[in-house]
Structures are given as structure tokens and as C-alpha cells.
Symmetry: C2
Subunit: 214 residues, 2 copies
DNA sequence: AAATGTGAAGTTGTTCACAGCT
DNA sequence: AGCTGTGAACAACTTCACATTT
């Protein structure tokens, strides 16, 4: 993933720290399932794949949560991170562009578990025959604005093809969306107060390919 | 995306520069399609979503390619970047884990266009009924090592579920894979000379959600 | 005049070293 | 003794300022 046009909210906390918070949160959930009550920064850092000093530094942005000589309480730390990330309440999300990838994401159960609900999907041709009928309502583009307004949607997953991506983005932004997870392989231009996270699978592969020596 | 356990190959060139090279490459391809012969760093940077100084600095790691007062030749710069990224030859890739997401990636035409070919897919249950029959051979896990050896595969896309991800990774690494694009939501542990690029969609959403103000 | 190329300055993020609790 | 919390040192990356070329 790479990000474009940052919004400098809560500017003191590094972007990467927030990113790692999500990782810590998942690791803590696993530790908790395994019945662990406390964990040291060393141990948690290991499963999260970072250095222990980095983990401790990351946490200091939010306060002090550990007990010296002992470590952190798994449950308490998990709750703190959830609160910070705002993953305690379910967030409505729309998905635009129901091709292969969009369809796969609609049936991906991972989102719900993490506090997001795809409440509707939109496509230029909602009636086209697809491999599978999604569980979510599949609507035409003309209903986009109404649903976003009515449901107070602020986030969108964009899986349309490159040529229409900017135009759809403009509509999303106008309708009130301020966060876009973009799978289209191009750089979206958006106002400063809108945030775009890009996921470009071809670039990830290309990047791997370079570093493992072409 | 985030990266774990870097391999410091060609160490002088920043990781992020390589990442942006992929973006520039796509922008140049578009400009070329539109019939442009030359482009200034200012103009290219704009479509790539970066500052022009950054683009120029990125390019200096590889040499001098521009003409002062004029700009860059689109075709020449594109060729140079392709050569650097090693995207001129087709790379064989395997995909492991044919669930919803894996199936979608198998039909994603974007990879081939960018120089990667998924030559085979593997699943613990290749005969299970799926929404769609992939174009690539869908094989059982017992054939994994043989195919990797025979075809000289060095890269893998990992779309298995979290519990089996580490075990599958160990097999991939043992068989000779040195680059893994990991979609499983956990941190893989691999030897130093193996590179993992992680794509975690839930984390991307969570991250957006934080920055747009939970 | 217009644009590149680049050393130096600035900014951001990471790691060290160790003081300070329990 | 063991482990957290953190200022200070360090490293990586970005931007500036401007010399240089066409």
C-alpha cells in the first residue's frame, strides 16, 4: 500500500505508528485467545515483527500502559488500541465496481470481523451476469449519492477500472466520502481533507521482483 | 502494503524510490498512449502524485536521462525504468490458497500485462466446488515443490488462511521461493534472504478510518 | 527562458542507552 | 532482576536552493 495526499490530523503521531497499532491489535487478539494475560514488549514485538523499542515508543504516543518489571496486560492494551483506532463501532462502507476483485471483496468476511460493514455495492451494470450473487445489495450508479447520504457513509472501496476511477471518485467525494481504499491502478486526485489508501497488486509484485534480483 | 524483513540489495537505492519507479512507469505508459513524446519532471510528477524534485532525485540513482530546458523522452525513460525493474521478461508466479480472494486474483488480468504469469494455483482441496473454474491449472498441495522446481519459480502469492500461512511459507521457502506477496493477516517469519510484501485489506481500512476521524 | 541535476538543509522515523519503577 | 519509558543519537527520506545545460 502507499498513501497519497495526507491529512495531518493528530499530527504528532506518525502514520506508521498507526499502521503498526493495527498489527499489534491483531497480535494481542491472538495472544488473548491463547489465554495469555500479560506480555512483555519483547514478546509482543517478536510476533508483530518489529523491534521492542519501537513498540514501546509507539505506545508512548498514547500514554503509559505497562508495568515495569512485568510487561503489559493483554486485554487492557488491546482495549486501548481498539479505542484509539475507533474499531469498536461498526462503520458503514460502500464498494464501487463489482468486477472480479470487487466481487471477491464483497464475500471477504475479514472486514466485518474488524468493524467494517459493506452496506451496498454499486456497478455501472448491476444486472450483468456474475459468477456469484453477493449478499449485499447490488445497485446501479444512480443510487450512489442517495445511499451515501442516507446511511452517513464516509468510506468507500474503489474497484472500478482505471478510466472511470477519477470520475467515480469525484462523485464519492461530493457525496461526503472522506476515505477511499483505491484498487484502481492510478493516482487519484482528491481535496486535502480526503484520504486515499492505494492498493496496487501489480506494483507489489514488481517491487518484490526487483528486490529478489530480477 | 507494509514490508517485513528487508533484504538490503543494491543498498544505495531507497526502497521507496523503487516503489515510485513502478508508479512512474505506469504514468509514462499512459502518456505514451496519449501520443506524448517528451514530458517535464513537473508534469510527470503531477500525474504520479509526487513533487517534481522527488521525481528528479529518484531518477538520479540510475543516471541522467533528461535534457535541460526540455524534459524527458517518454519512451526512453519508460524503457530505462522497465529495465531497472526487470519487468521486460515474463516472471512465473504460483498462487497458494484458492478461496474467494485467490480465485479473484487468478482471473485478474492486471498481472500478465505487467510481466507476471501465474503458472499454477494450489489448494488443499483442489476439487472443491468453486464459483468459477480458473484458467490456470489448479493442483493439490502435494505437487507444490515439483512445480516450483521444474519451472524455476521464485515468487508466490499467498492467499491461504492465517492458521496455515506459516507452514505453507516454510514449504515455499524450502522449495526455492524468495519473494512472497502475503494476503494472510499475520506476520510471516522467513529467512533474511526471503522478502515478504504484506497486503492486509482490513488494516488499510482501519488506517483510513483512523485518519478520517473515528 | 525553461528545465534538469544535486549538495546541503530539513524533516521524519528508528534505535540506542540508560534512568526509573515494581 | 526484569522490564518499561524516553531523551538523545542516528538513519532514512524529502525538500530546498541554485548551479548548470540546452
Amino acid at each position: 500500500m502507499f498513501r497519497s495526499l495526507k491529512k495531518p490530523d493528530r499530527p504528532e503521531i506518525p502514520r506508521k505508528t498507526i499502521y503498526r497499532l493495527s498489527i499489534y491489535s491483531r497480535c494481542l487478539a491472538r495472544l488473548r485467545e491463547n489465554g495469555l494475560r500479560t506480555v512483555s514488549s519483547e514478546a509482543l514485538a517478536k510476533v508483530a515483527g518489529v523491534k521492542s523499542t519501537q513498540l514501546r515508543k509507539d505506545l508512548t504516543y498514547f500514554g503509559q500502559f505497562g508495568t515495569r518489571g512485568l510487561g503489559y496486560e493483554v486485554e487492557e492494551l488491546f482495549q486501548m488500541i481498539s479505542a484509539q483506532l475507533g474499531t469498536k463501532s461498526l462503520q458503514p462502507v460502500v464498494l464501487v465496481g463489482v468486477g472480479n476483485l470487487g466481487l471477491a471483496l464483497l464475500s471477504y468476511r475479514g472486514f466485518e470481523k474488524e468493524g467494517f460493514e459493506i452496506i451496498a455495492a454499486f456497478d455501472i451494470d448491476p444486472l450483468r451476469k456474475r459468477d456469484k450473487k453477493p449478499d449485499q445489495p447490488l445497485l446501479g450508479m444512480d443510487e450512489l449519492e442517495a445511499i451515501i447520504h442516507d446511511r452517513g457513509v464516509r468510506m468507500a472501496i474503489l474497484t472500478v477500472d482505471a478510466p472511470s476511477a477519477q470520475e467515480v471518485t469525484n462523485r464519492l467525494v461530493k457525496a461526503g466520502v472522506t476515505g477511499i481504499l483505491n484498487f484502481a491502478p492510478l493516482v487519484l486526485h482528491v481535496p486535502e481533507d480526503v484520504m486515499v489508501n492505494n492498493v496496487n497488486l501489480a506494483i507489489e509484485l514488481e517491487n518484490l521482483s526487483y528486490f529478489i534480483q530480477g
